[in-house]
């Protein structure tokens, strides 16, 4: 069987596992979820009605089967709060999250690649030390602190950018910077390490020996090979980016799935909680799968 087919097959138990985990999330709620949803003043009849509507009076195995069956039809249940199908509510928020994630990724790559390459070329000298220290500070800085600090500086003190919400391109800048920082901190280290590996290779010495200009050696010979592992890391960090987006969105009131998830938790809108978690987790699984496959495609050595 080809590598791709095998990986696709291996995806099935993983996806099933994720679905099961999400299913049990909502069944872990301590006490009676229906009572929690309707409040203490709800009548007995209302409670029974909602329980039946949700199928919570059925045996667990039947609920599980029904949950999987619904998924196949694209039915994630109805949001209590929005009184609409969960999938429609999430579909409305997903583009905002995708835009934020893409912008943050762009920020991270634009900052990290040049810095990482510079650090590797000037190894153990000032640029290297600064880049490494900066990256350490970057990963140590929580985005729910960086965000507010950027707001104080750029929105209140300088008045350059809007505080929150999603109105025009300017409102994307601060959230993208906030979310991109941690990722770029990781990418700087990866790019540097990967460049250092490549810079020690024989073919680079050969290139230098035959008189290729240093700039060409770096740009043509080293960079191409060094970037391969970096591409993989970018893909694998996508999950961290999505999780970070949940928090960053809440800092900036960005109308994406992350903001939706916390609203749903606060409103005890459990079908919506389940839906948000499921959608984010599935995005993560799919991106990881694509990264793996892409890697095998680019680098014949890992093809099995």
């Amino acid at each position: 069987m080809t590598g791709l087919g095998r990986r696709l097959l291996l995806l099935i138990p993983t996806v099933l596992g994720v679905l099961t985990l999400v299913f049990f999330l909502v069944h872990l709620i301590p006490g009676d979820p229906v009572e929690l949803m309707l409040g203490e003043t709800a009548s007995r009849a209302d409670l029974g009605q909602l329980r039946a509507d949700l199928g919570l009076d059925r045996p667990l195995s039947e609920q599980y089967a029904r949950f999987l069956g619904g998924l196949v039809r694209g039915d994630l249940g109805r949001s209590f709060y929005y009184r609409k199908p969960v999938l429609a509510v999430i579909g409305g928020a997903l583009p905002a999250t995708a835009l934020l994630a893409a912008a943050a990724m762009a920020v991270a790559v634009l900052v990290a690649l040049p810095l990482g390459i510079l650090a590797a070329i000037r190894r153990d000298r000032l640029p290297d030390r600064l880049a490494l220290f900066g990256s350490l500070v970057g990963v140590s800085m929580p985005n729910f602190w960086l965000g507010p600090m950027l707001i104080i500086l750029f929105s209140f003190r300088l008045g350059w950018l809007p505080v929150s919400g999603r109105e025009g391109a300017a409102s994307l800048v601060l959230p993208a910077l906030t979310l991109g920082t941690a990722l770029s901190a990781i990418l700087v280290r990866m790019t540097r390490a990967s460049m250092l590996d490549v810079l020690g290779e024989d073919y680079l010495r050969t290139a230098r020996a035959k008189g290729v200009r240093p700039v060409t050696v770096i740009a043509r010979h080293a960079l191409r090979n060094a970037l391969l592992p970096v591409v993989t890391i970018i893909g694998l960090q996508f999950g961290a980016l999505l999780s970070g987006a949940v928090i960053t969105e809440n800092v900036f009131a960005w109308p994406g799935v992350g903001t939706l998830l916390i609203q749903a938790i606060t409103a005890r809108d459990y079908p919506l909680v389940q839906g948000c978690v499921l959608v984010i987790a599935l995005c993560y699984v799919v991106v990881n799968f694509l990264t793996d496959s892409l890697y095998a495609l680019i680098d014949p050595r890992v093809r099995t």
């Binding site: 138990p13 993983t14 996806v15 596992g17 994720v18 985990l21 999400v22 999330l25 909502v26 872990l28 709620i29 301590p30 350490l136 500070v137 990963v139 140590s140 800085m141 929580p142 729910f144 602190w145 507010p148 600090m149 707001i151 104080i152 209140f156 505080v163 390490a193 250092l196 999950g239 961290a240 999505l242 999780s243 949940v246 928090i247 809440n250 800092v251 998830l261 916390i262 938790i265 606060t266 459990y270 909680v273 978690v277 984010i280 987790a281 993560y284 699984v285 990881n288």
Partner: protein, 273 residues
């Protein structure tokens, strides 16, 4: 355990010093503050740093320094609990999978794969959100995401160590599996676990304050994340409320990362670049 090589770099000493200060702050919180971090003083609401309140006061006039000091207690307590729980669970699962092999290995590693396919903090947010905001649930939620790394690490260690000659020798003289794993393999497999634990302490502090920031942490207890969330609503008039707890989160996480880097370099010279 591999013998540490070389001297500790300056950065590690700085990291260790910050951690020592944080620990002192946590232990001495009742002595160096009024001991009542939640005592309100409405006249001083939103006031910036003054002599009596070095970090300023929050929206109810509560002393931010006292809240940050007590927040250190919460954060360190949660970090230590979660790291301990996840190390025990992960090492046990990984050791069982690696040493017993066969069906145990397959089942454990499949479960590990599923957890790895799930963004950890998302699982923690959903769990804490569903279970309800309190200290115990927060520890459970954070532990659910952390054990997987240790399980993988330990299994890999076991697979390589169980083929060593001294393990074969121990088996030959009649040592049982418990004795072999407990006395001969575990002590030799612990170095990477210690390094991982240091880094994950940093991760737990970020995750814990994220959850507290989102309102999913312990209630009626001062936490860094909770204080920061309050501060986020007063960025224009009282930026000090958000600034100080965030600074302490960053310093603590940075300190764990610095110590982790040094431990890794010293326990595993191969990884040094």
């Amino acid at each position: 355990m591999t013998r540490p090589t070389g001297r500790f770099p300056v950065t590690a000493v700085i990291g260790a010093a910050i951690l020592a200060l944080m620990l002192a702050l946590a232990l001495l919180a009742p002595v160096i503050t009024t001991g009542k971090p939640l005592q309100t003083d409405l006249e001083g609401a939103l006031r910036g740093p003054t002599a009596g309140h070095p970090f300023g006061q929050d929206r109810l006039g509560r002393d931010i320094f006292a809240q940050v000091a007590y927040g250190t207690r919460a954060s360190l307590l949660i970090a230590i609990s979660v790291v301990t729980l996840t190390v025990i669970a992960g090492v046990a699962a990984g050791a069982a999978a690696g040493y017993l092999g066969g069906a145990v290995d397959v089942v454990v590693m499949r479960v590990v794969d599923i957890f790895l396919a799930f963004p950890g903090i998302l699982l923690a947010i959903a769990l804490a959100g569903v279970l309800g905001p309190n200290l115990g649930n927060l520890v459970i939620a954070l532990s659910m995401m952390g054990w997987v790394g240790y399980a993988r690490l330990m299994r890999a260690q076991l697979l390589s160590l169980r083929e060593r000659e001294y393990v074969t020798a121990a088996r030959a003289v009649g040592a049982g599996p418990w004795r072999i794993v407990g006395r001969h393999i575990l002590p030799n497999a612990l170095s990477p676990v210690i390094v991982q634990a240091t880094f994950s302490a940093a991760g737990v502090i970020i995750a814990e304050s994220s959850l507290s920031f989102l309102g999913l942490g312990p209630q009626n207890v001062p936490t860094w994340g909770g204080l920061l969330a309050q501060g986020a609503a007063y960025l224009l008039y009282a930026p000090h409320i958000a600034f100080f707890p965030g600074l302490f989160i960053m310093l603590t996480v940075l300190a764990f990362n610095l110590v982790g880097d040094a431990l890794r370099d010293s326990l595993d010279p191969k990884s040094r670049q």
